[in-house]
């Protein structure tokens, strides 16, 4: 690796290192200077988590070779405030609750600092535009924008610094806006996520992933990779000592592909080496011979007779079918004045947590195999890994590192097994950090769904019967499909008491990216269909959307779709609260928009028209276009 003498000012101190000039400024800050407050979210300049100031200008450090920063003055999130102190913008983030998982927050704080420095009089719209290059997946941005506006007001003297102080407690800490205890560590970049952690003698892992959607593995030859200088070990399915399988419900997924690959991006082998670059180079020396198998890419095709079989245990490709039956569906439809038949579909959705998957594994002095990772279920992961490693359960330990966003996507144990195997094989700590592309290809998505819906109603809007059928693409592995189908079925027909129901939800195997747990676990897909049906019915019957919902809603004593007797149901209260807060003007949903009198009032923003503002704010150093 070529080295160059690099000199720059970093957070006010002179820094000199002999280092690879081609590495990214981001890597130099994180790896050479251990300034891990600057995060990597995408490596492509899209998310803003790696934002730093270079000679006073906000820069995405993943896009800048370090040699370009030669002689420059760099400021990172660690350099904003003195240790133990917070700048006004950081206090404002703390006050408003602007940090959740915190992974995007150092970048957000830097972008917000840039707003305050360059356009201290910025309007809310300008703040949003200037923060538009930074992605957050947790907060919905609202409290971040609120924080920037609050800090702006303090910095410009329009508000007293006292507005940044905590609220005083009344008679109870329950119901009180206690400021988040973890916020100071997040707004200063001090919190260590798994990918920020280092251990002495740590090796770095890279993963070889399948380029095929469905293929038999004829052979794997790792000898050339293993012989490479700097390589600590190469692992494949052959290294698994115990029962190779994990999954939230069905243990159908091997730690690395065993015998065949079932989706593009599936792990096939992994290398641990002195550094990540050597590990990645070693991947190119692993020879895998594949024999293509016919693939399944549509859930309807998976159910056809003679369809390719993805898993031997499921010759019909069915991951899970959940039926729910209540009442007499025929009688219900016979009693209906109106029968609606519709079809709905929802797409596959990526979790897009800003922290890509990462972890460190090591074997401790008591031979306990320990995995540190942002796992959303260490209890279950410990169980599964003990079986995979054929170890007693107390010889496996999981530590949950701060999770930089999960939303269900970190419930699957898709890489912790590889880390454990490499740590056992080398007796060294081994770290793996996914790239964004790896994270997107290898992790589960929200189940896409296709729903066919039949709803019967009386003239006065009472639902007499529902036939609900949902087909979901589970992708290559079971992951959370079973639970997602169950929750989708239970919640399918919404918060309404319906006497006659016939519900089926099914997830099938295909060779697509696996679907798994994602915030709402199927509840969103199912209720999208139901709530669309409610409005379609309201339009046909000339009823106000709130009114048709009230006529069918659950109450205390109602029987749910699974025939559970409810002791309370707050649907009446939330309907009323939303109706009142939004000043809803009643009427049937018949393209009423052009006639409505309740539009554009309190609680709405002006539409965003990008490129429409050409004014330069007073006293601004920046010309805004």
């Amino acid at each position: 690796m070529p080295e160059m003498k690099l000199e720059m000012q970093v957070n006010g101190r002179k820094v000199m290192r002999l280092a690879d000039p081609g590495q990214r400024l981001l890597d130099f800050l994180r790896d050479e200077l251990n300034l891990t407050g600057t995060k990597e979210g995408c490596g492509a300049g899209e998310c803003g988590t790696c934002s730093v100031f270079v000679d006073g200008k906000l820069v995405k450090s993943c896009l800048m070779p370090v040699a370009k920063a030669q002689g420059a003055e760099i400021q990172t999130v660690e350099g904003l405030a003195k240790p133990g102190e917070l700048e006004a913008i950081q206090k404002a983030f703390h006050k408003t609750g602007a940090s959740q998982c915190g992974y995007c927050i150092p970048g957000m704080v830097m972008a917000a600092t840039s707003v305050l420095r360059e356009a201290p009089e910025a309007s809310l719209d300008e703040i949003k535009e200037r923060m538009g290059g930074n992605i957050c997946r947790c907060t919905g941005y609202s409290k971040i924008i609120e924080a920037v506006a609050l800090a702006r007001d303090v910095v410009t003297g329009r508000a007293s610094p006292a507005v940044l102080e905590p609220e005083t407690v009344g008679e109870s800490y329950i119901g009180h806006n206690v400021r988040r205890l973890d916020a100071p560590s997040k707004v200063t970049g001090r919190l260590k996520y798994a990918g920020d952690m280092v251990m002495p003698d740590m090796a770095h892992m890279a993963v070889l992933r399948s380029p095929h959607a469905h293929a038999e593995i004829v052979s794997i030859d790792t000898s050339e990779a293993e012989a490479m200088a700097g390589v600590a070990c190469v692992i494949t399915a052959a290294d698994v000592p115990g029962t190779d399988g994990f999954g939230v419900f069905v243990h159908d997924q091997p730690v690395m592909a065993r015998g065949k690959v079932r989706h593009v991006g599936e792990a096939v082998a992994a290398v641990a080496a002195e550094d990540a670059a050597t590990a990645r180079r070693a991947l190119t020396k692993i020879k895998v011979e594949y024999r293509d198998l016919p693939g399944l890419f549509d859930p309807e095709d998976a159910l056809k007779p003679g369809a390719p079989v993805i898993h031997d245990y499921a010759p019909d490709n069915m991951v899970k079918h959940i039926p729910i039956r209540k009442g007499d569906i025929e009688a219900g439809f016979a009693a209906a004045d109106l029968i609606l038949e519709e079809a709905f579909s929802t797409q596959q959705v990526e979790h897009a947590y800003l922290e890509p998957e990462a972890g460190i594994a090591y074997v401790d002095h008591d031979d306990v195999v320990t995995v540190i990772s942002p796992s959303q279920n260490i209890t279950h992961h410990r169980h599964m890994l003990a079986g995979i490693l054929a170890l007693p359960i107390n010889k496996v330990r999981f530590i949950m590192s701060p999770v930089g966003g999960g939303f269900g996507g970190k419930e699957d144990m898709i890489y912790q097994g590889m880390l454990a195997l490499a740590a056992m094989k080398t007796h060294r700590p081994v770290r793996l950090v996914f790239t964004r592309e790896e994270s997107i290809a290898a992790s589960a998505k929200r189940h896409p769904s296709r729903v066919t819906y039949r709803m019967g109603l009386t003239r006065d809007g009472r639902i007499t019967a529902i036939r609900f059928e949902m087909l979901s693409d589970g992708g290559a592995y079971g992951m959370s499909s079973e639970g997602v189908m169950r929750k989708a079925a239970i919640l399918s027909c919404g918060p309404y008491e319906i006497e006659n129901l016939w519900i089926d939800t099914r997830a099938v195997y295909t060779n697509n990216t696996p679907s798994g747990a994602f915030r709402t676990f199927g509840g969103m897909q199912a209720q999208f269909a139901t709530e669309s049906m409610m409005d379609i019915a309201a339009e046909r019957l000339g009823l106000d959307p709130f009114e048709i919902r009230r006529r069918n809603m659950m109450r205390a004593g109602s029987l749910t779709h699974t025939q559970q007797r409810l002791t309370s149901a707050s649907i009446d209260r939330v309907l009323e609260a939303a109706e009142q807060a939004s000043r809803w003007e009643p009427g049937a949903p018949t393209m009423r928009g052009p006639m409505r009198g309740d539009l554009g009032g309190p609680g709405t923003r002006a539409p965003c028209t990008l490129g429409a503002r050409f004014e330069t704010p007073k006293d601004s150093k920046e010309r805004v276009a």
Binding site: N134, I135, H176, A352, R397, I399, V403, K487, R519
Partner: protein, 339 residues
């Protein structure tokens, strides 16, 4: 049709709290510590929802100290009791109640010693914000003094707690069963503007009313709602993970489009409290329920604005334009037929 058309839509929703169709359980340990501080060991760490602050508030309330005096042990299978997974809208409900019960046991140990020292009934003791007193008397001391006294009497005030949610499995034939013991409900109203030339939809306002049982931290709940709404908005209008013959084609954030600060509506959260009668705290949850009604409320609002029904998510500009064109063609054909 005018270029920019506005409309409103509503959607309701419901959700179950904690793991589905099974017995859910969690445990926690607590110790009132020197200086009137506390240690709580739970098996939980932050995934961003604010659980550590919520647990500190619960522990502070139960122990009579301040949230910043509470130290929460890390989530570690070898060092802390089972908390199981950080998901299923179960953290406040399962871990929150476990911590409350563990703290109550620790507090009872301390109160027994102080009551004996003061020669009063333990039921007369109240502690809040670092101060302990006996009601109906002038007796008072700080919690730091109380812990010191308790230990000098030979007692370390520790407690353990666990909480159970009694869900039952579903009958495999008809699906009958009681999958959860606590349910929440929500309703959202969306106001949108549709650009009939580009097909772009902007969400300008969103009102979200959610039952959370009992609010532990109002800003925290709002943050969950705002985040959920914007994820729902992303799914309604832009996000779309696509594969071609199994190959991901949206493999980075340049291809996989996410909402940014510019896409966000003004969000008004209305927190409704229908307390859970089956748990010590009465709180339920908000993490997942927050995003359930967002997409249908937006899609219903698009219909209100321009009279087209989007049945396939996301409602991309292309789909909205095609639906408007199809509607206009249908209306033109109907007008012609009527001539």
């Amino acid at each position: 049709m005018q270029r920019r058309m506005r409309g409103r839509g509503v959607a309701a929703s419901w959700y179950g709290i904690a793991r589905t169709a099974t017995v859910d359980r969690a445990g926690a340990w607590a110790e009132l510590d020197d200086g009137g501080t506390a240690k709580v060991v739970t098996g939980v760490t932050e995934i961003g929802e604010g659980i550590l602050t919520v647990l500190a508030q619960i522990a502070a309330e139960e122990l009579g100290i301040r949230p910043e005096d509470v130290t929460i042990g890390d989530n570690d299978t070898a060092r802390s009791p089972e908390a199981a997974h950080a998901g299923a809208t179960r953290q406040t409900y399962m871990i929150g109640n476990s911590v409350a019960l563990a703290c109550r046991e620790a507090r009872a140990r301390l109160f027994a010693e102080i009551a004996a020292h003061w020669e009063v009934d333990a039921g007369a003791l109240v502690a809040f914000d670092g101060e302990l007193r006996a009601q109906g008397t002038n007796l008072a001391m700080t919690m730091a003094e109380a812990v010191d006294l308790c230990k000098r009497r030979g007692v370390v005030p520790v407690g353990a707690g666990h909480f159970t949610a009694h869900g039952t499995g579903l009958n495999p034939e008809d699906g009958s069963g009681a999958p959860w013991q606590a349910y929440v409900f929500g309703t959202q109203v969306a106001e949108v503007e549709v650009d009939t030339v580009t097909g772009e939809v902007q969400v300008l306002g969103l009102w979200a009313a959610h039952d959370v049982g009992r609010v532990i931290n109002p800003r925290g709940v709002e943050g969950q709602i705002e985040g959920g709404v914007v994820q729902g908005l992303g799914q309604a209008l832009m996000e779309d993970y696509q594969t071609a013959n199994g190959h991901p084609v949206t493999h980075g954030f340049a291809k996989y489009i996410l909402p940014t600060a510019l896409d966000v509506p003004e969000i008004t959260s209305i927190l409704v409290e229908d307390r859970d009668p089956l748990s010590p705290l009465g709180a339920k949850g908000i993490g997942e329920p927050a995003l359930v009604p967002t997409a249908p409320a937006i899609i219903n609002a698009i219909h209100d604005a321009v009279g087209v029904r989007i049945r396939s998510l996301p409602a991309t500009p292309e789909k909205v334009l095609a639906a408007i064109a199809e509607k206009q063609a249908r209306e033109a054909a109907a007008a012609k037929a009527a001539e």
